[in-house]
């Protein structure tokens, strides 16, 4: 029995990465859920919006790095984040003005909006590849680790160590701040209340004199800002590559639906549940069990539920299971 080592091992490979990943998914899912709450369609372009915001932040980071401006030991990308947010917001407002507003005026079906958003996704993906190219881009600088596995081992004398990357901490802290600010906005401010009212009952909200175009604009601004933050943090923590933002759309949608569509609290909850499911289901518990079991004993196999190749299948399974068993999600949300 060696509980301390078992805990350290599990933290290093499951808890820490899953918390950071969960925070990234939660930010993404919040953006999707807000658009769904107000405009009532699943925005497939959200992944590319993340990518677009991150791309703008990267370009700004490079500019700052070239100019020698930095906030060492924090990554320069944090300084460049406002540029990414502005770019994403501008992009969102432009697409809304030239694409989505047309269909809104025609009062098109939500499914038409969803398909239009797929088109927007492809256009945006092409634009991103023209501007920054399809390759990996590295833009992280500053201190890489808060503390490394080796530091931890030396400090505690344990066999197993926990390493925490600076970007993981930044991800979690930024996500906390952003989510708190968002909830404050939705609960306490006039426009936040108006948005919730509009989301609850559109006609009633219109009767009370709420300007729908303004609500829609605010929804896009919030969603795009969240997307830019989520994309930049994801790129900072892992790597920025345009292609992965197509892949990340699936876990984000799974998180949104699991939490309850249109429910901000649900989106955060869903993000963490999906992240923890993906990581734990594909984690091999062999060593963890070996520490908990009697001395000198270790399980024969790797004790892994699913091979890591099937990581994305976990989101699919969650998506299908939720739609079958509880289509409203954990917190009663809208049904697609």
């Amino acid at each position: 029995m060696d509980i301390a080592n078992a805990f350290a091992l599990l933290s290093n490979f499951v808890l820490v990465p899953a918390i950071a990943y969960g925070a990234q998914l939660a930010l993404g899912a919040l953006g999707v859920t807000i658009i769904f709450g107000i405009l009532r369609f699943a925005n497939f372009a959200h992944g590319e919006m993340m990518s677009f915001g991150a791309m703008a932040a990267i370009l700004a980071t490079w500019g700052l790095q070239a100019a020698g401006i930095g906030i060492d030991p924090l990554p320069t990308a944090l300084l460049a984040l406002p540029v990414g947010i502005l770019a994403a917001v501008a992009m969102a407002l432009l697409t809304d003005r030239f694409v989505f507003r047309f269909y809104r005026r025609k009062r098109s079906n939500p499914i038409v909006f969803a398909i239009v958003s797929v088109g927007v996704m492809f256009v945006m993906a092409g634009l991103i590849r023209i501007i920054i190219g399809p390759d990996d881009q590295s833009f992280a600088d500053g201190a890489r680790f808060l503390f490394t596995v080796r530091d931890f081992r030396e400090a505690t004398g344990l066999e197993q160590g926990i390493g925490v990357k600076q970007t993981q901490l930044i991800t979690v802290v930024v996500a906390l701040v952003v989510v708190a600010a968002l909830f404050w906005f939705l609960q306490k401010t006039r426009w936040g209340k108006a948005m919730r009212a509009y989301s609850d009952d559109e006609d009633l909200a219109l009767l009370s004199g709420i300007n729908p175009e303004k609500i829609v604009m605010i929804a896009w601004v919030i969603s795009a800002a969240l997307a830019a933050i989520a994309g930049t943090l994801y790129g900072l923590d892992k790597t920025y590559k345009p292609f992965i933002f197509l892949q990340i759309l699936l876990p984000i949608f799974a998180a949104t639906i699991l939490g309850g569509i249109g429910q901000p609290v649900g989106a955060v909850l869903g993000g963490f549940i999906v992240a923890f499911s993906e990581v734990t289901v594909t984690y091999a518990f062999k060593r963890f069990l070996a520490y908990l079991g009697p001395d000198g004993w270790a399980p024969e196999g790797l004790v892994q539920l699913l091979s890591t190749d099937y990581k994305f299948a976990v989101s699919f399974v969650i998506l299908v299971a939720v739609l079958l068993v509880r289509p409203t999600g954990i917190i009663r949300g809208k049904v697609i």
Binding site: N12, F13, V14, P17, Y21, D136, S138, T148, V149, R150, G161, G163, K165, Y234, G235, K238, T239, K241, F243, I244, Q247, I248, E278, V279, T282, Y283, A284, F285, K286, R287, F288, L302, V303, Q304, S307, T308, D309, K311
Partner: protein, 395 residues
């Protein structure tokens, strides 16, 4: 066209008739069309440069001339390759074949044409491990190493360094899988243990889950059979971040400055292997090819030059153009003992052989033939020290 045909026929007949009995023909059976067409152009010229060199020496089998006859083996069309080889043997009457280019075409030609006709063929570029075990009646050779060879070399290096256990990850394609299989069987055959094998997909953002699996299984070192600008890099990043592994074995797809530029000294102690030779032959061949319309260091060009050279040198050693007689001499001229022969020294080699001496053909690839008649391949072992690649040894 109808009126032209007799003229064409006559033209062809007259050229073949013009060649006298004291001309030896070598079939240059390469994939001139299809997926390998860009590779093959310089390869064929390289092979023909050796043929020309022997022909010009004036001492080949008592002064015979040598000419190359081209045949198109394609790369993917086994029927076309078989037909081309048949033509070379039955209607052109070649005395040996340099080819084919791709492993599939080579297998087809060997089974359908070379073995039934007892014809020697030396491929410069077929690297499939399956060709190591094929029935060949001693007729098939290759101057390129089998893909399995690097796995054996990595196994040997690991055992020599006293590493007992290793985890293995490979990029999920034919190259990665084949290399991983050969590393695993070589290492385990020498008493090592592969604790876990996990494939990784290229083009993902995050490889911490794959690394976590390998870390759970443990191992002294992580073997990464991938690409340095793709998933291989991501695997190393995740392994370093989580402290799961701090030393790596890096096969050819992972050896490059980009990797050390990115990770620096944190890779220290890692082992790299990639094809490479310290033999001066490659540079000499590149010089020889200058002004001949191709580059001597293009892929498989040295192998093609060497294939033609050892084919002709074996004929000289056996003093015969009969495949049944000279096939046994190929390994003899390619390997020690004897005078070392570099590119451009074929006339010297022919003279030594004519006088009854021994040669050890080195050529452009530092050629060493091992059983069953294939190149041992030359690999460079490197290690990372202070964030830089450092050559340790050649294998």
């Amino acid at each position: 066209m109808k009126r032209l045909l007799p003229f064409l026929c006559a033209a062809v007949m007259s050229t073949t008739a013009a060649q006298a009995q004291d001309t030896v023909k070598i079939g240059m059976l390469q994939g001139f069309t299809g997926p390998t067409e860009s590779l093959v152009k310089p390869m064929a010229l390289g092979g023909e440069m050796a043929i020309q060199e022997v022909s010009d020496s004036g001492i080949f089998l008592g002064g015979k001339k040598v000419v190359s006859v081209r045949g198109d083996s394609t790369c993917v069309d086994a029927a076309a390759a078989t037909a081309a080889a048949n033509r070379l043997i039955t209607s052109e009457g070649v005395n040996g074949i340099v080819g084919a280019t791709c492993s599939g075409a080579t297998t087809a030609v060997l089974n359908n044409v070379a073995r039934p006709n007892g014809m020697v063929m030396i491929s410069p570029s077929a690297t499939s491990p399956a060709l190591s075990t094929i029935e060949d009646d001693g007729l098939f050779f290759r101057t390129a190493p089998s893909d399995a060879r690097q796995g054996q070399i990595i196994g040997e290096i690991l055992v020599a360094k006293g590493i007992k256990t290793a985890a293995l990850t490979y990029t999920n394609n034919d190259y990665g899988k084949g290399l991983a299989d050969s590393i695993q069987s070589a290492f385990e055959g020498k008493g090592g243990k592969i604790t876990a094998v996990a494939a990784h997909e290229d083009g993902k953002a995050d490889y911490s889950a794959e690394v976590a699996t390998l870390a759970a299984a443990g191992g002294d070192i992580l073997i990464v059979a991938g690409y340095l600008d793709q998933g291989g890099k991501g695997m190393i990043q995740a392994a370093l971040d989580t402290g799961a592994f701090d030393r790596f074995v890096l096969p050819d797809g992972m050896v490059g400055e980009a990797l050390t530029d990115n990770f620096g000294a944190s890779l220290d102690g890692s082992i790299g292997t990639n094809p490479g030779t310290d033999s001066p032959g490659a540079a000499q061949l590149a010089k020889l090819a200058e002004g001949k319309g191709f580059k001597g260091d293009d892929p498989y060009v040295p192998e093609a030059y060497d294939a033609s050279a050892i084919l002709l040198l074996a004929m000289q050693a056996a003093n015969s153009t009969d495949p049944a007689k000279y096939k046994g001499m190929i390994e003899k001229v390619a390997n020690a003992p004897g005078e070392k022969i570099y590119p451009g020294e074929l006339a010297k080699a022919l003279k030594i052989l004519a006088d009854g001496g021994d040669i050890d053909y080195v050529g452009g690839t530092a050629l060493e033939l091992i059983a069953p008649g294939e190149s041992a391949g030359s690999f460079r072992e490197t290690t990372v020290e202070g964030g830089k690649w450092k050559t340790v040894a050649y294998h």
